[in-house]
Each structure stands twice: as C-alpha cells, then as structure tokens.
C-alpha cells in the first residue's frame, strides 16, 4: 500500500540504468493496482451512493451499470442525475453534453500533464489507457512519475482496479437501494480529498510550487464564489500552472 519512496526501485529488465525507459508492463500494472487500494473502500461507497440515487431516479440496473462503465466519472454522473429524465430532447442532450464537458474539463488538463510521460508509447497503447483516466489513479500515477517511475502500466493497473470497483459497486448500490449508509456521517466525502493531499505533498519542490499552488488556491477559491458550475477547477489549475511556468529553474 505504501509506495516505495524511490519509485521503480528495481528497474525492470527493459529499463536502462541512466535514463529509465518508458514501458508498459504487467509488473507496472500490478504495482499501480496495489497503490490504489487505500482508495477503494471509499470509492466503493461513492459508487454505491450513485447506484442508489440512480435507482431512485428511475434508471434500470443495466442503465446505471452502463453509465458507470462507459462514463466512469462519478462527479459528472452524480450531477447529471439531478436533472435526469426518461425522455431526452435534442436540446436536453446538448445541455447534458455541455454539463459533462465542463464537469470533466479537468481531465483535459490531467491528460495533457501525462504527455511527457506517455509520448514515447505507441498510440494504440496510450489512447485506450487514457480512457481509464480518473482523478485518483491520475493523482497516484503523477506521484509515481514525480518519484521517478516510468512504467505506464502503473496508470493502467490503478485505472483498471478503479473502473472495476466503480462498476461493481454501482450495481451493488442499485440493488441495495435505500440501504446505503449515510456517507457524510462516516466521513466518506473525505476519502478523495484526503487521498489527494497524500498525492500532493511529494510534488513539493520549492519556489515554483509555492507560486503555482498559491495562485491555484487563490484563483480557484475566487472563481468558486464568482462563477456558478465547475469552472473553478480548470481556471484555478491553469492559472497556477502558468504562474509556476514563469518561475525559472532554481537549479
């Protein structure tokens, strides 16, 4: 569960000693799967909550499971349920597409951040892998990369475990219906942010992070008060990253 401090400690047979080669191996998949385990109990409860609400909103078991399997984005799925209906006009579908896009816009930035790592891999490996992108496995993978890991399998393995648990627990929640526990009373809403904090800390290097994180915090909070919706995530992140990019290397 605990990531080794120096990631990819025993370089696989395909990595060279001086410059670790970018690979996608089964060993990497297993390491990623293991590293994401602390998230899974909390994620399962989230998915069950989605399944239970979906059931109340009139989605069939198949529809709820299909939504989790194909959309695989908890926040967007949950938000969409608020306006869910059995009849969708073209304009309602367009509004749904726009809502999904804005809620998931952070994934555009997350995938962009994966470019330096995944670029050497062939497209038939990268694009299917990217479909497994979710907040928590991306965060875990970026920490792994920051600590020197280069095996893309880490991202795939952690993503696949997340996806499997997400879909299975959605179905469970739909079947359990109202029997799902009150998530807030037991602090389930803390699982994702607490995991993010654990992923964030190793990113600290110095002045650039002070600037980037400070700007990201200030801008995202300001935008969250000024603009309705989910813009604060992307606007804050972009502002912070751009500000950090203008801090020259100290070393």
């Amino acid at each position: 569960m605990l990531m080794p401090r120096s990631a990819s400690p025993a370089p696989g047979p395909s990595s060279s000693a001086d410059h670790p080669k970018v690979t996608l191996t089964l060993a990497g998949c297993l390491e990623g799967a293991r590293s994401i385990m602390p998230m899974m109990p909390g994620l399962a409860v989230f998915a069950m909550a989605f399944g239970a609400v979906a059931e109340q909103k009139g989605l069939s078991l198949a529809e709820a499971s299909l939504s989790s399997a194909l959309v695989f984005a908890g926040l967007a799925q949950m938000v969409a349920l608020e306006g869910w209906s059995q009849h969708w006009s073209a304009s309602a579908l367009l509004a749904l597409a726009f809502l999904t896009f804005t809620v998931n816009m952070r994934h555009v930035l997350m995938a962009a951040a994966l470019r330096p790592w995944f670029a050497p891999l062939p497209a038939w490996q990268t694009y299917p892998s990217l479909l497994l992108l979710a907040d928590n496995n991306w965060a875990a993978a970026m920490r792994y990369y920051t600590l020197g890991g280069r095996d893309a399998g880490f991202f795939v393995g952690s993503g696949f475990v997340t996806w499997s648990v997400w879909v299975a627990a959605t179905a469970l929640g739909h079947l359990a219906g109202g029997g799902v526990p009150d998530a807030k009373a037991v602090g389930i809403d803390l699982v994702v942010p607490a995991f993010f904090i654990a992923m964030l800390l190793p990113n600290w290097r110095g002045r650039r992070e002070a600037v980037a994180w400070g700007v990201a915090a200030a801008v995202s909070v300001t935008v969250s008060f000024v603009l309705a919706g989910w813009w604060f995530i992307v606007v804050g992140a972009l502002a912070g990253a751009l500000a950090g990019g203008f801090v020259d290397d100290e070393r």
């Binding site: 529809e63 330096p116 995944f118 990268t126 607490a194 800390l201 995202s220 804050g236």
Partner: protein
C-alpha cells in the same frame, strides 16, 4: 419506461462520448504544442496546481468536519507518508467532529 429506455440510453451514450473526448483531447492537443522549457515547467507545475484547485475550494465551502478532516489528512500524510492512514484519519476526524457538532 417503454419509450424512455432509448432516451436514457442516448443520454448515457452522449455522456460517454463527451467523457472519452475529455480524457483524450488534452493528450492529443499537446502534440501540437512544442515543448519548450517554459511549457515543460508549466506541465511540471500542472499536477500540483490541479490538485490544489480541486482541494482548496472544497475545504473553503465545506463544513467544520471537512476542514478538520483535511487537517488530519495533512498531518498524517506528512508524518507517516502512508496513504491509507491519511484517508482513515481524515474520515475518523470528520466523523467525530460531525458527531459532536452535528
């Protein structure tokens, strides 16, 4: 749900298509941007900035249990470097604070 079935399915497929686009577009578009040292620094700073932009507004708009739980996670992650302990202490702290404050 006779005529609705196709409707709900269409909505799910629309969300799936947009989500797939979101997941792949950023990676694809970065192909068109030359990675100069400055772009490289922006990309380096992006993961941390994105996590901060997800975390801090949630903490600001959340209740006392959220704030206390995040504080506990910060301390636990810093001291133990263990993800599981960070998550558990955050949940426990938030649950305890909410049990007291209501």
């Amino acid at each position: 749900m006779t005529s609705g079935e196709a409707g709900a399915l269409a909505a799910i497929l629309v969300m799936a298509a947009v989500s797939a686009l979101n997941r792949t577009a950023g990676f694809f578009l970065m192909r068109l941007i030359p990675v100069t040292p400055r772009v490289r620094r922006v990309l380096d700073a992006l993961p941390g900035a994105l996590l901060v932009a997800l975390l801090v507004p949630g903490a600001v708009h959340g209740d006392l249990g959220m704030a206390a739980g995040l504080g506990a996670a910060l301390v636990a992650a810093k001291l133990t470097r263990n993800d599981f302990l960070a998550v558990i202490s955050a949940m426990g702290t938030a649950a305890a604070v909410r049990a007291v404050v209501g």
